[in-house]
């Protein structure tokens, strides 16, 4: 009996040690170009995927990318199925109640996109009577609920930004709000170019729009947090960040 218990304990320790070597980095399993989207073969590519590689290399960690459905990504982290989240997740007070974050690795403006020729602006008055579609559980949903819901006709929630974009093309919503980069990519596509245009950036609200995008981590894992912070600092200093960003963005998205 003791023997079995001992070997079991040894096996557990060994798996524990093996697991510590690879850090499982969760990304959202939904396409979010140009940050992360699967190519024809199913391999994930994009700025954020490259950034995971660069940060992990700089921090000397073995990282494994694990796609997880966006709406279950925080439970996956807290239950230990993944060890970190790098899925364009903004650092917010609300999320900090449940998880911890590294330093930010990017921060971009938030814009409103609507149909061409439709009269609107990225203000509560400019969106009065309009149907606004946003991705659920994002800072954009929180922002729209706080600033635009009172004057808008309706706020529709989507599982992915892609579905909101489709419904914008189909005329079921009048506007959508998201990260400028994600929406620039949509506006650069043939469908997006035909239907829609940017209606400008929304007014800042750091309480909701937060402190940029960071690596989501379990609370209390300070060693891992320090490693990620060191990795981010290193690639910013040695020019890797610029080199990784160049193919995707015209200007740096690190932000002020």
């Amino acid at each position: 009996m003791t023997k079995i218990a001992l070997s079991l304990a040894a096996a557990l320790m060994m798996t524990g040690a093996a697991m510590a070597e690879t850090v499982k980095v969760g990304i959202a399993a939904e396409p979010y170009p140009p940050f992360a989207s699967p190519d024809a073969a199913g391999a994930w590519t994009g700025w954020e995927v490259d950034m995971i590689g660069a940060v992990c290399k700089a921090a000397e960690m073995e990282c494994e990318i694990v796609p997880v459905a966006w709406d279950g990504i925080i439970p996956s982290l807290t239950s230990g199925q993944i060890d970190a989240i790098m899925a364009s997740m903004s650092i917010t007070e609300e999320r900090l109640k449940t998880i911890d974050f590294s330093d930010k690795y990017y921060n971009t403006p938030t814009v409103i996109v609507g149909p061409k020729g439709m009269d609107m602006a990225a203000t509560p008055e400019g969106l009065a009577g309009k149907i606004i579609g946003v991705q659920v559980s994002t800072i954009h949903e929180a922002y729209v609920q706080k600033h635009f819901a009172a004057t808008a006709a309706e706020v529709k929630l989507y599982q992915t930004q892609d579905e909101a974009n489709q419904d914008l093309i189909a005329g079921r919503i009048d506007a959508t709000q998201a990260d400028s980069i994600a929406l620039d990519a949509f506006l650069a596509s043939a469908e997006g170019m035909a239907c829609c245009e940017s209606k400008g950036a929304v007014a800042d609200d750091t309480e909701i729009l937060g402190l940029g995008v960071g690596v989501g981590l379990r609370k209390g894992e300070d060693d891992l947090k320090a490693k990620f912070n060191a990795g981010i600092a290193k690639i910013l200093a040695d020019g890797t960040y610029e080199a990784v960003s160049k193919p995707y963005f015209a200007s740096s998205i690190y932000g002020g």
């Binding site: 659920v136 529709k156 005329g171 079921r172």
Partner: protein
């Protein structure tokens, strides 16, 4: 009645169930519930009317579909048969998405539809959900009704005919009532299945009770409690459906030859 019901094994089961409920209430997190009660009530209401309307419209389509297959001429039987086969042969989720993202995104490209008075309805999601649920129910029940119409004794129909009863009267007074009565137990089961098909509409932005549970999870990161509540809601509705069909089955007297 109550004496017969409270047998020892049932008392033990009820006690276990009560203990389980108490345990759930005491140990799990329910502090989110007051904030979402209004939304949950709206969600339940939407689930219920989607179910009721799709049952009603679907059954209205199913009777002619069944009749056409059981006794109709080839030019009616064949389209009915094809409709049932195609709808039953493809996933409901696929039909729903084809209607919403396919048909629904064609409409705005046609200017006169976009300018018409119907557009405020057509741009919403629920008409596509209702249509998909209705077509699905019609196809499955069309098949059930085909069997039910076939199963009614030929002798009765021939006797009625030889007495000079008009064909519509035969249908109304002999054929349909007996077919419905035969199909009733199956229809009860199919209605429960239809209830459990309704959460699919959450994928096209209709906020039914399932969508509300997802919202709670996404807003608060609480996973199990809303799902447990969701299970209880569906079980309660299922219980009502079962009771309603038991009532119908008792009320319609059996009159087979």
């Amino acid at each position: 009645m109550t004496r017969d019901f409270w047998l020892p094994h049932r008392i033990v089961m009820a006690a276990l169930f009560a203990a389980l409920v108490v345990w759930c209430v005491m140990t799990l997190r329910w502090d989110w519930l007051p904030d979402y009660l209004g939304l949950a009530a709206q969600g339940i209401w939407r689930t219920l009317w989607l179910l009721a309307l799709s049952l009603l419209l679907g059954m209205t389509l199913a009777v002619p579909l069944g009749l056409a297959q059981a006794a109709g001429p080839l030019w009616l039987a064949l389209p009915a048969r094809s409709f049932c086969t195609v709808i039953r042969g493809t996933p409901l989720l696929l039909q729903l998405w084809l209607l919403y993202y396919g048909l629904g995104s064609l409409f705005p490209q046609i200017p006169w539809i976009r300018q018409s008075d119907l557009w405020p309805i057509l741009r919403q999601a629920w008409p596509y959900g209702l249509l998909a649920l209705t077509l699905s129910f019609a196809a499955y029940e069309g098949e059930v009704m085909r069997g039910a119409f076939r199963g009614v004794g030929k002798g009765q129909l021939e006797a009625a005919k030889s007495m000079g009863m008009p064909r519509l009267t035969i249908l109304r007074r002999i054929w349909l009532p007996q077919a419905l009565h035969r199909a009733l137990p199956t229809l009860g089961g199919e209605t429960v299945l239809q209830l459990k098909a309704t959460p699919l509409v959450a994928t096209i932005t209709v906020v039914d009770i399932y969508a509300v549970a997802s919202r709670v999870r996404q807003d608060t990161f609480i996973t199990y409690e809303p799902l447990l509540l969701l299970a209880v809601v569906y079980m309660a509705i299922t219980g009502l459906i079962v009771l309603a069909f038991r009532h119908f089955e008792r009320r319609i007297p059996t009159r087979t030859a």
